[in-house]
Amino acid sequence: AQSVTQLDSQVPVFEEAPVELRCNYSSSVSVYLFWYVQYPNQGLQLLLKYLSGSTLVKGINGFEAEFNKSQTSFHLRKPSVHISDTAEYFCAVRALGNEKLTFGTGTRLTIIP
């Protein structure tokens, strides 16, 4: 079975500052990793994913994440945040050959003007 840990439940950041949202996973088999974003009162949408290839993955809205197998991490980063980035961010993992995702508990990103 897989599990995901998002250590920070809330992250406040000043506008135009950089941000890193942390995600660590646990699995006995190879995995695929995802970040989803949920804007207020909306469903979740895919931000980026790592399936194979380059460990640095770029997503929508200027976000990127790096898959680090030795540290079992998939941290999400953005060099300069905007007010519109205020949302909840979910890290998720699935095992190869299994479509079912396991989600973390989410990190609420709040941008301070």
């Binding site: 909306q42 895919l46 979910f90």
Partner: protein, 110 residues
């Protein structure tokens, strides 16, 4: 494409009432899921389906039932609503590339 469509968007139920949350996808995905989302708790899997006629329990199935008679539809049934079922419910479908979520149903049981 509409993607994943959930109805209704909002509903208030009285304790003991029943209702069905509807979910339809037009992407011909085999896998479909129902999650509930409670504040600070992330997403909890209620039921999922790997294809028409096949369903399986997730982490929190008690108090819910599902059916999957077609590839497109995956309704979630609450038989005897309880206050603990107050939540936001999301339906999703998936491929190997990831999930597509519906916009959610906010359910309050009073």
């Amino acid at each position: 494409n509409a993607g994943v469509t959930q109805t209704p968007k909002f509903r208030i139920l009285k304790i003991g009432q029943s209702m069905t949350l509807q979910c339809t996808q037009d992407m011909n995905h085999n896998y479909m899921y129902w999650y509930r989302q409670d504040p600070g708790m992330g997403l909890k899997l209620i039921y999922y389906s790997v294809g028409a006629g096949i369903t399986d329990k997730g982490e929190v199935p008690n108090g819910y039932n599902v059916s999957r008679s077609t590839t497109e539809d995956f309704p979630l049934r609450l038989e005897l609503a309880a206050p603990s079922q107050t939540s936001v419910y999301f339906c999703a479908s998936s491929t190997q590339e990831g999930y597509t979520f519906g916009s959610g149903t906010r359910l309050t049981v009073v």
